[in-house]
């Protein structure tokens, strides 16, 4: 067998296994969208709660971010799927969505909180002197400026989330990584992992591109 025949064989093999691996793409994208859409507003709400005057609310939110940033996401996923789903009857995807939303919500809470607190006190004073109340001040003055400032850390989280979705492999969801692993252990080859890696790279590149555009759009005023 010469080397060109061997090369064609490899290509054929890749062509054969890629559709199966990429059949996990759908669930990854679906989970990703659910988590981004739910956890960013959750983080924003919790951040607003964290800078409020209510000590009880602040205490509860402190506990929330402490627990969910302080324990492994995989452990949380096991807890929800093997523990809570006995009571609430979640399927795997629901269990994964809930865990990821709550976990990422905790990170976003801290990012938004830090962002809000980084806005100059003079902005609050100017708004107050113009007769704006607290919610008008937050909505119109503080949060828009904060969002621009936190784009880089939010973009980091958004990229990490792409890769973190692979943890669902552990609760038997057929995502990219799990499908690749199945083939890898069947055929004793690392080729499926390379294909999976390329797929993750493509996904993260899309996210990087989107955030780059967002940062450009928001940079008009500085």
């Amino acid at each position: 067998m010469n080397s060109s025949e061997e090369f064609i064989k490899v290509l054929e093999y890749i062509g054969k296994i890629t559709p199966y691996i990429s059949s996990g793409l759908g669930v990854v994208v679906k989970l990703y969208i659910v988590v981004i859409i739910c956890s960013i507003p959750l983080g924003l709400l919790c951040a607003i709660g964290k800078v409020s005057k209510s000590k009880i609310l602040k205490g509860i939110l402190e506990l929330y971010t402490w627990i969910f940033r302080g324990t492994p996401l995989l452990l949380q996923l096991f807890f929800v799927y093997f523990g809570l789903s006995k009571v609430f009857h979640f399927n795997q995807f629901q269990a994964a969505s809930i865990t990821f939303v709550i976990n990422y919500g905790a990170y976003f809470t801290e990012i938004f909180r830090a962002g809000i607190q980084s806005i100059d006190k003079g902005q609050y004073e100017a708004a107050k002197a113009l007769g704006m109340n607290y919610s008008q001040t937050m909505k119109r003055i503080i949060i828009p400026q904060m969002l621009k400032r936190v784009l880089p850390p939010i973009s980091n989280e958004a990229i990490t989330l792409v890769k973190d979705t692979s943890l669902v492999t552990a609760i038997a969801i057929g995502d990219i990584l799990r499908n690749a692993k199945e083939i890898a252990s069947r055929d004793f080859t690392i080729t499926p992992y390379i294909i999976a890696g390329i797929m993750y790279l493509v996904l993260t590149s899309v996210i990087v591109y989107i955030f780059k555009k967002l940062e450009q759009r928001y940079s008009v005023y500085e």
Binding site: K128, Q136, Q145
Partner: protein, 249 residues
Amino acid sequence: MVKVKNINKHFGKLHVLKGVSLDVDKGEVVTIIGPSGSGKSTLLRSINNLETVQNGIIEIEGNKIADEKNGKRIHISEKEIRENCKKVGMVFQNFNLFPHKTILDNIIEAPIIVNKEARNVVIKRAESLLQKVGLDSKADVYPFQLSGGQKQRVAIARALAMEPDIMLFDEPTSALDPELTGEVLSVIKELAKEDMTMVIVTHEMAFAREVSDRIVFMDEGEIIEDAAPDEFFNNPKHERVKGFLNKML
């Protein structure tokens, strides 16, 4: 117009305002001068509820924003205070323009959001205010594109857009390069000519002398001199004022 009676303010152990009283009549321009740490900014900021006093009475056009009975503070709701402060405009040392909004949007924001005025009406007013402060060509730029003096003139226009009866200026030129103070001071002088009631904290002595009806001197949380400009500069009663003026002039 503004009545401040016997107000006290503590920051922790520091007694910043020690029973200060001050009356400002309609159309009057009062400048507050004094060494730093004397409480002049705190006094000014109390008139706008940016600082809450521990006791004493503050009244704006007959409406109380701080009140007491038998030495005990009477609670006034945030909302009522906000309503009563609506006719007070404020200009800060650091401008505090909204960086994410254009100059025009900075000016029209509060009239639209707070007063619920119609956008086209407010825009017309904003344009004439920009003309008044000499910045009508800058409506669509962002604050970072302006010089300090221009920013402060926008800040004045922004405060005026709420059609205040009283304007407070907290060291409006202290953050500016010397060559830029003139343009801001001339806008304030213009307002004085239009009989705007103003309280100004400043270190610009020549300006204070020119624009003021009264000059108030504060030291260590107390008003120790309150006189017409000529009287104040030529014949100050208090030794502390004489010492200060000798250093400043």
